[in-house]
Amino acid sequence: MQKFSAFELFKQGLSGQSGWKPQWRSPEPKAAYDAVIIGGGGHGLGAAYYLAKQHGLKNIAVLEKGWLGGGNTGRNTTIIRSNYLFDESAGLYDHAVKLWEGLSQELNYNVMFSQRGVMMLAHTVHDVQVFKRHVHANRANGVDNEWLTPEEAKAFCPPLNISDNMRYPILGAALQRRGGTARHDAVAWGYARAADSLGVDILENCEVTGIRRNAAGAVEAVETTRGLIKTPKIGVSAAGHTSVVLGMAGVRLPLESYPLQALVSEPIKPIFPCVVMSNTIHAYISQSDKGELVIGAGTDVYTSYTQRGGLHIPQHTLEAICELFPAFRRMKMLRNWGGIVDVTPDRSPIVGKTPVPGLYVNCGWGTGGFKATPGAAHTLAWTIAKDEPHPINAPFTLERFRDGFLIDEAAAAAVAH
């Protein structure tokens, strides 16, 4: 791997920046691998990286039906935070934040992780009570979170409208200073480059069309559009398509796939210093380093695989944005798109084993999987390598729905998040 550094940049400058090599190979599929990861987004590429780096598996392939990071990795609004209510969630999401904090160094790739702070607005008495409960629960779990008055919230985010004549006035806010954003494409590319340098084969345009199981029921091969690939272990990180992929192995899941929309504005000079979220009126906003306002909307009401949705959904969000930030009322929006998110009944993910030996799944991240990318990848790799869960993902089993151990972040937040 060609290591990135200031010296290397200087050296390449002497030859007109013409000496840079491709960051990963485009190999032909081998007949067999020790492990196969289905899904070439951040979660899947990261799992392959940790399998190779920490568990000594070198003969690994990542199968991606399209191009790297072209699914939800490239479609989310890049918000990173770990201020979830329950102990299990705090453990999993904060594990991810801790990995984010060292990720650029670990991968020798600038993922532009920026801990600019995530502020969640409270608009009702109920919001205030719930968020204060979150603040206390988070601090008991060692996760930073603090309560701000409306004036303190405006001092932290000057464009914010805290007047009391709004339809949903701001009564306060919960601020996680360690939260922030990262460059989503760089996360996929950084993991891909690091995994490739450890010998992982990244196979793009390689769609899985079937999963073969032996007489004992264990997985033995995947059928793909680029041929049959034998493997004793399959990890699935296929987001909205997880039901489809696991259906090939006869596994039914507690998942439904919904379109989630986002949009960006025209680029402007730096005006927005943090991330602001409002679950109550469905608005999620930050400013990218390119200058675009990155805005997240809610899910559409119906299940779909179309990667688009109704225009009334982002319109609803923009109405909320205009109320919260009157300065943005004359901004133009440049692009609007959708991603397909796999939602569980308790809005918590499933990371672990399946009833099929050799088949592991990482799914159900719903509308908030990007923030967990390193943590999900790390614990999935551990689970695949050792055939048992890491203590951090142990509560996030498929069996929790049967056994009644839901991790009900849906009830805790009252929205998908």
Partner: protein, 96 residues
């Protein structure tokens, strides 16, 4: 926005409707005889198909009645809507 044909009121915009999830999931007749696996199947496991999906809608800002629909989740186009209690239409050969 989808245009949805309520079998009672005719075509109306999506905003008048709420989505009710997968259709034809009947409540168990003898709940006390179900084991944990059966309850999981009834409460949580869903087909989530990529293709034709039988689903419930409710015309909540209209007649307020539930009905069922067949919709292709790869195009969001409705193949059929039908009243609650009617069997899922067999669309084989109908070009759907």
């Amino acid at each position: 926005m989808l245009l949805i044909t309520c079998p009672y009121c005719g075509p109306r915009p999506e905003l008048e409707f709420s989505h009710g999830g997968e259709a034809h999931i009947a409540r168990p007749e003898k709940p006390s005889e179900l084991n944990a696996e059966d309850w999981t199947e009834y409460l949580y496991l869903r087909a989530n198909p990529k293709g034709l999906h039988a689903e419930r809608w409710r015309h909540i800002h209209g007649c307020a009645r539930f009905f069922n629909a067949l919709r292709d989740t790869t195009t969001d186009q409705f193949a059929a809507t039908y009243k609650t209690g009617e069997a899922r239409p067999d669309l084989k050969g109908a070009g759907a």
